[in-house]
Amino acid sequence: GDSVTQTEGLVTLTEGLPVMLNCTYQTIYSNPFLFWYVQHLNESPRLLLKSFTDNKRTEHQGFHATLHKSSSSFHLQKSSAQLSDSALYYCALSDRMDSNYQLIWGSGTKLIIKP
């Protein structure tokens, strides 16, 4: 079945360094929809960005990601980490089930930014 893989369970970085969180997916559908959700401590997940277009960069709140269908990837990047970026990040794939869609969630990557 469809799946999402986030290889890093924990990423620890120093403030100011670039961020890259990996996300790869498997799906039988040729037009996948990919999402990044962020969850800060003691909060609920919220959408960070989403993309449906191959090779198009999507940006929001300083983060960006590009859907690459050729490599089935949707990595999350930021040029310079801030302390406030410390959070749990989920990559998710929209999967068609019956006549509706559901999200297939990755296991999440905890990002810790240190001063």
Partner: protein
């Protein structure tokens, strides 16, 4: 911004007892979801609904029931709570726009089953 509320926010239950978690959304979204979140497992879908009167099983439905009596309300019921159901439960809603749908989460309910 979608508004999703959950009650209670914290709950302590006894093993074998009945627990009802409630969710309300005020944005007329068609779809609603119940997830649990545990360290090491991420978000796991328990039940979901496409509209009033409909409930569907998610990935881990065993031990849980769901009820969608109206567009706004979606409940998760644990008939016989067990310690393994100790977790944080999130309700979410979505417009039902197909694959592009954004899910909006409630604040979560922390459930402890003793």
């Amino acid at each position: 911004e979608a508004a999703v509320t959950q009650s209670p926010r914290n709950k302590v239950a006894v093993t074998g007892g009945k627990v009802t978690l409630s969710c309300n959304q005020t944005n007329n979204h068609n779809n609603m979801y119940w997830y649990r979140q545990d360290t090491g497992h991420g978000l796991r879908l328990i039940h979901y609904s496409y509209g009033a009167g409909s409930t569907e099983k998610g990935d881990i439905p065993d031990g849980y029931k769901a009820s969608r009596p109206s567009q706004e309300n979606f409940s998760l019921i644990l008939e016989l709570a067990t310690p393994s159901q100790t977790s944080v439960y999130f309700c979410a809603s979505g417009e039902g726009l197909g694959g592009k749908d954004t899910q909006y989460f409630g604040p979560g309910t922390r459930l402890l089953v003793l």
